[in-house]
């Protein structure tokens, strides 16, 4: 029996599903929004008193952090490694310069004047001092962190792992999807890939077992800044919104954190380099939708696509 809950959190639409005959499944499912609220209070840059903002304000001093923030920071470091540096938590100033200085639903569609331009020194994640024994973090002076999509992916993974104690679970955090196991009937979870050109329509249906899938796109979170379109995917090489021909990139990976990081890396890289990057990683599968409407599939993607038999 499938139990399903949908709710809003982290500025996004959330879905939590668990397949279980246990009578306590609905009650556990009702806890999921509370978990997300606690994580958002810790990790959101849009909440002034979040633990993340407190850490950023204490740059230069070692700060003991919660297990949540510690784990997400570790996830962000891992994302930076597997994306060859394209996904990093060090783009907060660039995001602010691009105009993304508040939660997206509060962002005006167009701003009259650009924010402060330029790419300040980003620093390196290696400069962050971490002490596992005390679980403390010391940020260099003038370094600020923003976890972005890593926080959503981490949250989806955590929620799926907690629900997996009852049965196969699927959790979508704004489209970053963690799947703990295939449904018990031997089928796979059908997951739609949204069409970035048409709201409500889907390009493909994927059939998935235990894995993670995520989509990075510039089709939705975009706004006008100084008369020009801006969006939230920062290319750390330039400190500006990525100049890319990819409108959305969907990646399937062994876990959602890897999927999230790789989807963003592929989008930033552009279609030619991004697809080549995917093909050299046998654990990944990808679907790219370009600005001109063209679709590109990695070779490994075929095994996940639903097709009429």
């Amino acid at each position: 029996m499938n139990h399903r809950l949908e709710f809003k959190a982290m500025g996004s639409h959330m879905v939590a599903i668990v397949e279980s005959p246990a009578s306590r499944a609905p009650a556990l499912l009702e806890q999921v929004p509370l978990w997300f609220e606690a994580w958002e209070q810790c990790l959101s840059r849009f909440r002034p008193q979040s633990e993340l903002n407190q850490l950023n304000r204490a740059a230069g001093w070692p700060v003991p952090v919660s297990e949540t923030l510690w784990q997400v920071l570790q996830a962000a470091l891992r994302a930076e490694r597997i994306s060859d540096g394209l996904v990093t938590p060090l783009v907060l100033e660039a995001l602010l310069a691009a105009g993304y200085d508040r939660s997206f639903e509060r962002l005006p569609a167009e701003r009259e004047t650009p924010a402060t331009a330029g790419w300040p020194r980003a620093g390196s994640l290696d400069e962050i001092q971490l002490d596992p024994a005390s679980r403390s973090v010391c940020l260099p002076l003038d370094m600020q962190l923003d976890f972005g999509g890593v926080a959503k992916g981490w949250a989806a993974q955590q929620a799926a792992q907690r629900l997996a104690g009852l049965g196969p679970a699927l959790v979508s955090a704004g489209g970053d999807i963690a799947i703990s196991a295939a449904p018990s009937a031997g089928e796979r979870w059908p997951v739609g890939v949204d069409d970035p050109f048409e709201a409500g329509a889907q390009l493909e249906t994927l059939l998935l077992a235990r894995c993670g899938v995520a989509t990075s796109g510039t089709d939705y979170r975009r706004w006008k800044l100084g008369g020009r379109w801006s969006h939230h995917i920062i290319d750390p090489r330039s400190g500006r919104p990525a100049q890319t021909d990819v409108l959305s990139a969907t990646v399937i990976a062994p876990d959602v954190l890897q999927a999230e990081a790789c989807a963003k890396a592929v989008l930033i890289s552009g279609s030619r380099d991004g697809l080549q990057w995917l093909e050299t990683r046998p654990q990944l599968a990808g679907l790219l939708v370009l600005e001109n409407g063209e679709r590109l599939y990695s070779r490994r993607m075929q095994q996940f696509l639903w097709r009429q038999s």
């Binding site: 879905v15 979508s172 959305s248 009429q308």
Partner: protein, 109 residues
């Protein structure tokens, strides 16, 4: 001196309209063919997909039929096309795709 009361123009218009409407109804009843009864196998619920029989075109007229037609002949057969309302988002991946448990796309509120 006798003088007739003048009728207003609007009253005359109303009379003409009434006459025209009545004449239309009368001629329609006179010349329209009887409605066919609905197939008992067909459901009145438009959301259900019935098994539709293809509409058959009327056989061509074999020759001149000496029937006096005043207003264009029998009323045309009514063709009914029922579309099944899809509950899930339209899927370009093809009809018959399983309903997604969730979807992945740019993070939307």
């Amino acid at each position: 001196m006798n003088h007739k009361p003048q009728k207003s123009w609007s009253e005359i218009q109303m009379a003409i309209a009434t006459l025209a409407f009545s004449a239309t109804l009368a001629f329609w009843n006179l010349f329209a063919t009887p409605q066919k009864t609905q197939d008992p196998g067909q459901s009145g619920d438009p959301t259900l997909a019935p098994s539709l029989e293809p509409t058959q075109a009327p056989s061509p007229t074999p020759g001149f039929v000496p029937v006096k037609i005043i207003f264009g002949g029998p009323a045309p057969k009514q063709q009914v096309v029922i579309q099944q309302t899809a509950a899930q988002p339209r899927q370009k991946s093809g009809a018959g795709a399983p309903k997604p448990a969730a979807s992945t796309g740019s993070s939307k509120p």
